[in-house]
Symmetry: C2
Subunit: 596 residues, 2 copies
Amino acid sequence: MSELDVQSLQAEVNRLKLEVNALKVEDRSEQVYIGNYLLARLEQLGVKSMFGVPGDFNLGFLDLVEDHPTIDWIGNCNELNAAYAADGYARVKEQGLGVVLTTFGVGELSAINGIAGAFSEMVPVLHIAGVPSTAQQKLKPMLHHTLGDGRYDAYRKASEQFTISHAELQNSSTAAVEIDRVLTDCILHARPTYMTLPTDLVYTKISSERLKIPLSHLPPPNEPDEEEFVLSEIEKLVEEADNDVIVLVDACAIRHDVRKEVKELIQKTQFPVYSAPMGKTAVDETYERYGGIYVGSISHPEIKEKVESAKLILSIGSLKSDFNSGNFTYSIPTTRTVELHSSWTKIRYAGFPGIGMKQLLPKLTKRLHEVNAAARQIEVPKFVATVPEESDDVISHNWFWPRLSCFFKPKDVIVAETGTSSFGILDVPLPKDAVFLAQILWGSIGWTVGSTLGAALAARELGLGRTILFIGDGSLQLTVQELTSMLKKDLKPIIFLLNNSGYTIERYLHGKHRHYNDIVNWKWTSLLNVLGDVDGTKSKSYTVNNKKELSELLDNASFANAEVMQLVEVMMPMHDAPRALQVQAELSGKTNKYVA
Amino acid sequence: MSELDVQSLQAEVNRLKLEVNALKVEDRSEQVYIGNYLLARLEQLGVKSMFGVPGDFNLGFLDLVEDHPTIDWIGNCNELNAAYAADGYARVKEQGLGVVLTTFGVGELSAINGIAGAFSEMVPVLHIAGVPSTAQQKLKPMLHHTLGDGRYDAYRKASEQFTISHAELQNSSTAAVEIDRVLTDCILHARPTYMTLPTDLVYTKISSERLKIPLSHLPPPNEPDEEEFVLSEIEKLVEEADNDVIVLVDACAIRHDVRKEVKELIQKTQFPVYSAPMGKTAVDETYERYGGIYVGSISHPEIKEKVESAKLILSIGSLKSDFNSGNFTYSIPTTRTVELHSSWTKIRYAGFPGIGMKQLLPKLTKRLHEVNAAARQIEVPKFVATVPEESDDVISHNWFWPRLSCFFKPKDVIVAETGTSSFGILDVPLPKDAVFLAQILWGSIGWTVGSTLGAALAARELGLGRTILFIGDGSLQLTVQELTSMLKKDLKPIIFLLNNSGYTIERYLHGKHRHYNDIVNWKWTSLLNVLGDVDGTKSKSYTVNNKKELSELLDNASFANAEVMQLVEVMMPMHDAPRALQVQAELSGKTNKYVA
């Protein structure tokens, strides 16, 4: 039995202990407020920052949060930004979760797009809504923040669409069990969960007994005989493939926390490894046998050829969305594919529900150990970005992204907004231990402003490097106010604002010259001054109009050290876009025709 | 039969004609795109501005909007602001509706709090979501903006909670009928409705035949015998009350468009008239027999006494939410109450479903015609606001609101944010033909920024006066970016920004000295410059620190003429609040205890 299996078993034992505990009557442990029980659990799970907006019905709980010794209340400008921040925080913390606190109706509904995004992209976020007291929930008076028709369950019904489990705390006897249930679901499945916290229950006392048993994100062990069968089948295919095997990592390798296991696999086997866009940084992009980004027909030809000609593809945590698969243009037959997922495995056409990769991967690595000599012969194209020579001084996407790649450092947290940024950065290798955040499936523009706040807080907590955001002018306008929270919390992100006069990704999809893709141009370099850095000591802003100005700035040590918050307005042509976006837009246009 | 009855019958006839039309096969009329059919209907209903954000899946329809000769695309900074704007627009336009266009998933969910607010406060808003093509909806691929699990119906299910009807356009044969249905529901019931518009159907051609028959917001006539019975019963009670009758107007008198009918009733009968907070401006506040705002135990003592001692209360369009009723402290027995509503009537304890006030009111007025002489004897306290003498120069709420009342002019559109503003303005009479907007039931802070944009556009379309917004610094931060749209559209609102260092309404509810009610102070007077008025020609900003500075500004003719967009930062003490808010907070605190 592996060490991980033992840990998994221990986690399973703990879950059962909690179940037993719930059924016991006798209890002599210390009594705690339900509000504090919840906070104790969050503290155990590593939560140090909590996001949200105060509102009637959550103020009592906020007293407990504000008084908590290790959890910091961030206090966002609005609830959508807060949900985005919790999402960004959870992505960087890993093995932990993000928490967003809102108020009944008005607050929780404003956050719902952020929660749906966390659902879609598989990010563990707990959404706590402060709600009226249990007495009021029975009487259903026409309180402010209600729909006026007594439907107190409408918000929960909406939330249910975008969360994997929900607890409506209703009494003290089940509160702890319910809290533990939604927290466990959240961290075990890496998906958002939802909890309503009535004003009176926050200050109702319950036993603290259950707090002695920790919650775990580790899944239960796989069924041994089935696991053994799966391992043999995979081993057989690898042998048949004569070690012409490539590994393709994707989103869920990051979300379900198997980066370490994947690293061991590829180092021992020496199989070449590639990544889908959403799997970027699942494997160190400077690793010698890493070949870059595979994204179907949008891939660079050499990468496409290498991936698609392999005799066997070990696909780890794949998520084949349109933008993550070159608009569904993978050219890899199922007969040559083994798919490992968080809770199931697929070998060619055969599905094995219940066999999860977290436990499977180390065992697979062990089995495949000896085959590395042959695999090493297979050449892997070096993934590099070369700064092109261009005749003019205009900052083109073609030039911008490779140029930026020299600016990145190990452990940087790099956030790319949906649009030119998320496509542009794909072709650039990120440094060792860099963390990469983008919302390639959900694609809600404006998301990165909140998520950069959350990511920067998590990075500070974990001692990571700089937080660097790439965002267009159109996207920044959606959620701009959250920049003030970065100033408030003394964060020092570097924000590259690509000023290309509107929604460039939309222009590529449709309406290249339409006014509806225009936006009002703002005086970007005065923005941080207005949003809280009144005396100019907490931030710096720059405009760079050409390659020379940008290069000089990037080469400036003080700039690169990120000593204060910095915003760089990068002037770019309205109709320029990265190669990958141009090809994607062309493919999208074919399946999603707009004209008659 | 009254003229209104005839009109109602005509409306009913038209609805039936449309039904007949739907069942007919033969059709030789001109073919139009479904997208243009929808726009033609909106044009017929007086829509001249459309709100929203472009996104993949609505771009094709946006081409038609941009090319439409009379409908202007506003293009908001984000979808929540857009929904708020559509709400504000609908409130000022009356008899019309507001329209918000978003994209699949990410866009529509961001708007959902704004739509829920329109539901709660009964505002006719049509939410159109641009969605993938009908072919894609059948195949359900993992497109961007999806949840990744094929549930293409999740967003509609969430929307259903907050809209009274929904149409998922699926084919050309039912599209026109479906469009007409959700539009009719929207304007007839003054509630939001929801429609999905697939990319391919926008450019599918259908018959334009139905467009010849107009849609109507008029409800069908009441059942004549029951109506006659109701009229006799009310008449009897009025006689028994010996003409000691008062009229109490509320939200639905405005929302269901009976202001004209109420005016005729009170002028003929001379009954004293009072208003609930949400009914403010349903009756001209300068009318000689108007006594001011009744809000249960929060009312001024003289008003409370007059209202509660009347032998009969004719309540028109009441909506007894907590903040609209002094936390449910009406002291008016049911035996002395007649309630008229949009679709039902209640006489003491007896309910008459189906008897709506739009048709009933004119008939009631006719019946009660002769009783005015006696009613006239009942004295009505004059509703005035006196500017108090205060010893210091601090801008207190006590002084601010009466002082502002002299600044208002007839036909001004006045918007008050939930919080100190919405409570403060209650005690101040507004001029004749003023339009008043507040969100007293839903109470989503930040709402007024979007709704001021919509209100100002509607005011310009209708030739009304200035648009004046009162908002706190905490609330403005939620939705601040939308100020840029006002600059873009050359609107000239006057914005009074009450700078009291945070969420003052929350401080009164709970956590007076808590940090979670603090916000970052912004450089408010530079904001408009940053958000688009780069050369300073389109706006002016001011800070007023004391009574003298504010008075001088208000007396300045150029300021009062609203020649450009203006923002006035009004410095107020952090812990000051209007009387009504202080009392409301005390009452709320009793029913919604926070401490243990």
